[in-house]
Symmetry: C2
Subunit: 471 residues, 2 copies
């Protein structure tokens, strides 16, 4: 706390001037569920009080709305392709002042070092980063990931400040079948939160998963599924990411009776959506436009995630709590005019105006470890049928096709005419030379090759090419 | 946890039989705010799941309601005049399975030893006792208490299991004027809760009190007062004790929007009310009869206090949480049929059927330390006017009267004819011989004397007598 308790009390009582007073604010009160016009006094990083205050600096909000800074309860910053400070710069103008991250992706590449890097580079930024330690590295035992996070690693990380618990437990069969390493991870989380990830899990298997201590789920796609999970005590994270979008389907879940157990999260949002649509603000805007009570919508991005994660100094506009505040025009347009984080104005009308620490000492080693000479994409020509992955436009599911191979006599090669291209996964963590090969239809590439090292969850290199040489 | 994680999961999945299944239960779901008919499976001390289960023991509830065990968020067990195990026996048949106690009274007599005694005698009972460490011993600097709790004592006690924070901060001027010892106590509570006690505090002084970290208040008597405190982020404990009864006045505060920040507490309940009216069950019954939504009423005695105090294993019927359950007939009569605590039936139709630990090793020294020969009640007769405390029937406020003294020539004596009796406070902690003397009108005693060592907050002896000899 940058201010002493004594000074905070002095300013709250009006004995001393506040550092900043936001005058004529329409306060969205997430505790009482109503709106009242008042002044908000800020002392250093904290809210001093609401009411009649004088400040060294006074800003007349002229009736604009003020609500608490938004808290994203589940986000993989890696999916934005940005380093943590750049991510802060991207989301702060949208009102997000705290995030709970799960560095699952970087951990699958860099392991413990990757998590440490995220922890370190999360410090000294103009927003708050809480961490859920990835529970599933590798995601399954069938993956060739760059690292393995053991229960002992988890136990160590859980002692860190800012670490709130264990991240999405996607290995739910491991829970249900009581895999020893999964049980050890669950035990390590005692007293902290365990986030869930269990699409479609229901009935007694759901009971067992929750009984193990899993407290939330962000994978619901249907209201009935979400309703069952909420009834059994899970917090429902309504996700609206770049590819997985569940807001419209799940909104009917949210009623005045159930709302306190619901929150909005972004999970994976690509940089383009961050720029064009925004962050939690866009979810709130859409929810309100879809008919959700505006105050409930704001609670779902403020008080509710704070309660779930046990964050005791944020999520509402309350004396003594962090002065993380969002000023916006109205509930319809929901344009964010100002964002304050810890009493400092960090964004004005969509523009980041805070300061990023110029020097961030956190570094990571290069994660790319491939030995090209030892890699071959050759597929010997045997038989006259091959299995081909059939892409379905706009979907993540694929079809299985059986087609005739094109060969150069000795080897099967890509066939741009029929759009049957060679696809490879190249292990890139240990330079083992391991390559997985196949064919894909519907990709549409006519020459050259395309490769990506972003490939969930282990992030080996995926290549598609029109010839082995191009690949 | 009396059951292993693995066994709990096994039973939740239905691989093994549950220990107990409550069949055909109307579950009051505090998460979803609705009621559904299902079976509740219990494994050892825990809820295994809801749904289709077989059990070693099965009890058909035939459509009776089941809700979570009640949690009293603020109670002084000393006020019941009972030791902790006897208190458990008194309140369990009323559905109270967890209490958050503030041993303020015993601490004012026995200090650190008194708190230790309460902590020790709270163990091995058939209900759960959480402790808020008394913040104000003595209550004010004008009191002659039996002990003094220093910030360093507080810091030590706050490390104990079961200690959830610092109890009612009744010395709110000490907070507002930043008394060093009060500031030290507030700092010691960092990361835990601080309960409030600030009748009528409002405006900027309220802001300062909350800014110091005080999270609740149980002293509201008017809706406007409670509304202001709730808006500023305090949890409102609606108290319905023996003398202080605020339920009817404060019920209009509770709406679907504000309810999550409200809970019921008993504070001080005398043994007669415990027997005749009950405990939290009687408050819930009255609230429902007064028109409060029954599910909200039950949330205010279960999920809401659990959330405020950060109790992560109770407050709802959820797999993995404690099997603390209340079975009742209907919302109108609200007769409690069965109470389960940790999966064991501890009460049946108002009768305690659990077992109390036969031997409770916690002991305390005698707290009575008076040296009668050194005590004198003599009031020399000087002048012909005395100030007399005028009692007002049924009120705790008194009047100041000026009356003529009755003397035996040398000394002022009690006058039963005009009902002007001598009243004394005798210091009884250190045998100092200190005596405070006065007169009281309206007490009505005609012969002998009456004394009490229960006298809030320092519990010195108060006597009223018809003659010095009787006293």
């Amino acid at each position: 706390m940058a201010i002493t308790l004594e000074d905070l009390i002095r300013i709250a009582r009006g004995e001393d001037e506040a550092d900043l007073v936001l005058k004529n604010a329409r306060v969205v009160n997430v505790f009482s569920g109503d709106i009242h016009v008042t002044n908000v006094a800020i002392a250093s990083t904290r809210i001093a009080g609401l009411g009649d205050y004088r400040g060294k600096v006074e800003i007349d909000l002229d009736g604009a709305y003020v609500c608490p800074g938004f808290i994203d309860g589940h986000v993989h910053i890696e999916s934005s392709m940005l380093r943590v400070p750049e991510f802060a710069r991207a989301v702060l103008p949208h009102g997000t002042t705290s995030v709970v991250i799960d560095p699952h992706e970087i951990a699958n590449v860099l392991g413990f070092d990757g998590i440490r890097y995220m922890l370190e580079s999360s410090k000294r930024n103009p927003f708050s980063v809480y961490v859920m330690v990835p529970s599933c590295v590798p995601a399954t035992d069938m993956e060739t990931s760059g690292a393995r996070i053991l229960p002992s690693d988890l136990a160590l990380l859980l002692k860190e400040n800012w670490v709130q618990g264990v991240g999405e437990m996607m290995n739910y069969p491991g829970v249900l079948f009581r895999e020893p390493s999964v049980m050890a991870k669950v035990r390590a989380a005692a007293g902290k939160r365990i986030d869930g990830h269990a699409p479609g899990l229901s009935g007694r298997d759901l009971m067992a998963y929750i009984a193990a201590g899993v407290g939330s789920d962000h994978e619901c796609t249907r209201v009935e599924e979400a309703k069952e999970k909420l009834r059994m005590g899970m917090y429902i994270m309504i996700r609206e990411g770049s590819t997985a979008r569940n807001l419209r389907d799940l909104l009917p879940l949210v009623t005045p009776a159930t709302a306190r157990r619901c929150m909005f999260v972004t999970d994976d949002r690509h940089p383009l959506e961050l720029l064009e649509e925004g962050h939690l603000d866009s979810i709130i805007r859409t929810a309100i436009a879809s008919g959700l009570d505006p105050i409930i919508a704001i609670q779902m991005a403020t008080l509710n995630p704070a309660e779930y994660f046990g964050l005791l100094d944020r999520g509402g506009i309350r004396p003594g709590w962090r002065a993380d505040l969002v000023v916006f025009d109205n509930f319809m347009d929901f344009r964010i005019l100002k964002v304050l984080r810890g009493g400092q104005i960090v964004a004005e009308r969509g523009r980041f105006v805070g300061s990023l620490s110029p020097h961030n000492p956190a570094i990571v080693r290069s994660s790319m470890n491939v030995h090209p000479p030892s890699i071959s994409f050759a597929v010997p020509a045997r038989g006259n049928r091959i299995r081909v992955i059939g892409l379905v436009p706009g979907q993540i599911v694929t079809q299985q096709l059986i087609m005739e191979p094109k060969t150069d006599g000795e080897f099967v090669v890509s066939d741009t005419e029929r759009d049957v291209l060679k696809i490879a996964v190249v292990e890139r963590h240990q330079a083992t030379g391991n390559v997985g090969l196949g064919f894909v239809h519907g990709f549409g590439l006519k020459r050259g090759a395309l490769a990506s090292s972003v490939a969930h969850d282990s992030h080996n290199i995926i290549l598609v090419g029109t010839s082995d040489d191009d690949m």
